[in-house]
Structures are given as structure tokens and as C-alpha cells.
Point group: C2
Chain length 182, copies 2
DNA sequence: TTGACAATACCGTCCAGACGGTACAGTAAA
DNA sequence: TTTACTGTACCGTCTGGACGGTATTGTCAA
């Protein structure tokens, strides 16, 4: 799990996200995921005993991907005030340039059973709390959190409406709000 | 269409949204929708020749519900500067008190085929443009738009993380940003 | 005014295909 | 010998949607 080798498990999870993107979250089938991952269906079921468990793991997978990226950025900015908030903001700046695929597995999980998003809720709450803890102004932290959540959701749904230019402007404005002292 | 009578069509669309909430977006079946609407499956298929058309109409239905509510609030606040932006903000204040069900039909449409959200994208863009047109500061409009989008998406996914108190604070802060002059 | 026909708004049934999941025998590396 | 699979065969269920029928209402020529 902690070595550099790409495990079958990881391949399957990545494949599931791709299939969800390709055929629509509601049409994610175990057959298609196994095929995409280059694994037999029996092999898939060996790692994930049923679809619910696969989707559960898929949510965790995306959460970890995001958290890893955030923590890495946080370390880069260590020492600065509000490093987490700044890291979160920068994450979106980077994404703007080299746009990564959205965490489509989340959508598949939600489509199957909205209750599977409970870990997302927990993660988001702790993220918000950490942001609030580091910020001078509570409402600034709340606004930034929500605005970034807005960007994330638009990407997730692929209903991105802001131009890259607008997105840059918002991000810098939010940065100013973060830096401002009440 | 313009009379007060609740048509079978409308009953079916409302039923579809309810079913989506109840069984999960991916498990919205025509049978279940027909049953919930008090209509036979044949009757449903008469109004919507296939599932895709039903979901297409469902997206439009939710968009109209939202737009009607927004326009009504806008009229109430007519004359004031930034009336649209203020109306949008107030809509969330009202929703906070008497929480309405989320537009779950949108999720069903997205689960089936993300492309069905294209009208949402178009609507959002015009909404943003109207907000920008009425605002003194572009970045203020962008931030408010995104933050509200953040709230909407959290509700839609049922991963609402903010306490009612926090939500009130954000909404009033956003109101101040809207009112502030650069 | 009436009889013929057509459009509207459904109902109830049936079916092919897809999907989740099981079972099990085999295999190759560690 | 255990772990980690592959491959095949299969079952039961669900679902979209096609189809044929029906009741009601409207239209319009004779």
C-alpha cells in the first residue's frame, strides 16, 4: 500500500473513475470497470466484494488524492500565515493551468447512493475548521471555502461557466481577502 | 400550459424528482416514476417518449422553478441597485428558514448523462452575466456567484457542512460585499 | 343533427437485454 | 501451500421501451 508499485486495487479505482466519466455515473458497471482496469471480473470481486464497497473505496480514493495534493502544497508554504488557506487557493491556480480530470468517481457513488458521500461531508467539515482556525476573520474563511466549493462543483458537473480570466480574478481577489486584516 | 391546472406532465416531473431523492439518482426507473405520479407506464411514455426526454424536461423543470423564484424576489426588490444580486442572496436566506427540497432531478439527469446539464451551464452563464452587469465590482459579483454556487452544490449533494449560524454570517457578509463600493 | 372519423390521453402487457453477483475450476508466482 | 488472481458459466432480477388496446373529446361533411 505504501510502496511505489501500482496495485491492482489502485488500477481498478482509477478505471472506475474513468468509466464513470465515459459512460455516465449511473452506468458504471462492474464488467466495464474490470475490463478498463485490465482485470477479470472475478479479480475485481476479489478486491471489492460488491459494488457498494467499490464505490465506498472510490470516494475515499478521491478524497485521498485531493488531500495529498493539498497537504503537499501546504508543506511548500509552511511557515506563512494561513498556509492551508493559501495552499487551497494555489491548488486551484495550478489546476487552472494544467486542468486535471474531475473526481468523477464521486458522482458514481452519489448516483448509486447519496449516503456514500458521508465521508466527503466529514472531510469538508474538518477542512473548513482548519481554515477557520488559521484565518483572522471567520466570514472571510467561510466565503473562501464556499467560493472554492463553488468552483469545485462546477468542475465536477462540467458546468464550468467562468472564463479562465474570470477564474484568475476571483482567485486573486480571494487571496486578497485572505490576506486582509479586519 | 399557462392555466392553473396541474397537468399530468407536471405531476410526472415532480414525481421524478421525488423518486430520485428516495431511491438514488441512478435508480430512477420509469415504473417508479409512473407509480408515484399516479399514472401508468404507458401514460408516462405518452408524455415523454423515452427516459432521456424525461430527464431533459426534468432539468428544464428545476431550472424554471429556480428562475421563477428568483424573478419573483427580483420584482419585490425592484428599483434597488443590484436587485438581482440582492434577490439571489435573499433567496438563500429564505431557504435557510424553510428549507425546501433540493432539485434532485438534476442529479438523476446528470447520472444518466452529464451532457443533459448543458442548459444548466447556459442558464448559469446568463445569471452570472446579469449579476455582473448590475454590480459595481466584477470580482465581487464573481465571488458572490461562486459562494452561492457553493451553498447550492452542498445542498444538492446533501453534504451541507455549514451550521445555520455560519450560513447566516456568510450571507450577511456577502450582502456587505455586494453593497460596498470599490 | 347526426354519423364518420381523427386526435388526445392514457392503460396494461410483454420481452430482450443488461447487470450484480455466485460458483468453481485452473494457474502461476512467492 | 498460500496468495492473487483468470476464465467461464450461469442465475434472478430489473428496466427501457415497444405495442396493442381503450375511453373521451373534438371536427366536419352530409
Amino acid at each position: 500500500m505504501t510502496n511505489g508499485k501500482v496495485t491492482a486495487r489502485q488500477k481498478i479505482l482509477a478505471a472506475a473513475a474513468e468509466v464513470s466519466r465515459d459512460v455516465g455515473p449511473a452506468h458504471l458497471s462492474l464488467d466495464a470497470v474490470a475490463q478498463r482496469a485490465g482485470v477479470s471480473k472475478g479479480g475485481l470481486l476479489y478486491h471489492f466484494p460488491n459494488k457498494a464497497k467499490l464505490l465506498e473505496a472510490l470516494v475515499e480514493y478521491h478524497l485521498n488524492l485531493f488531500d495529498d495534493a493539498l497537504c503537499e502544497k501546504d508543506k511548500e508554504l509552511q511557515g506563512k500565515p494561513n498556509s492551508l488557506l493559501a495552499a487551497y487557493l494555489e491548488l486551484f491556480m495550478v489546476d487552472l493551468e494544467q486542468c486535471q480530470p474531475p473526481p468523477s468517481g464521486i458522482l458514481a457513488a452519489m448516483a448509486e447512493n447519496p449516503g456514500l458521500l458521508a465521508p466527503v461531508k466529514r472531510y469538508n467539515r474538518t477542512l473548513l475548521d482548519r481554515m477557520k482556525a488559521g484565518a483572522q476573520s471567520e466570514s472571510a474563511a467561510l466565503i473562501i471555502y464556499l467560493a472554492l466549493e463553488g468552483i469545485r462543483s462546477q468542475r465536477l458537473f462540467d458546468v464550468d461557466v467562468l472564463t479562465p480570466d474570470e477564474q484568475r480574478k476571483v482567485l486573486t481577489s480571494l487571496g486578497e481577502i485572505a490576506a486582509a486584516k479586519a
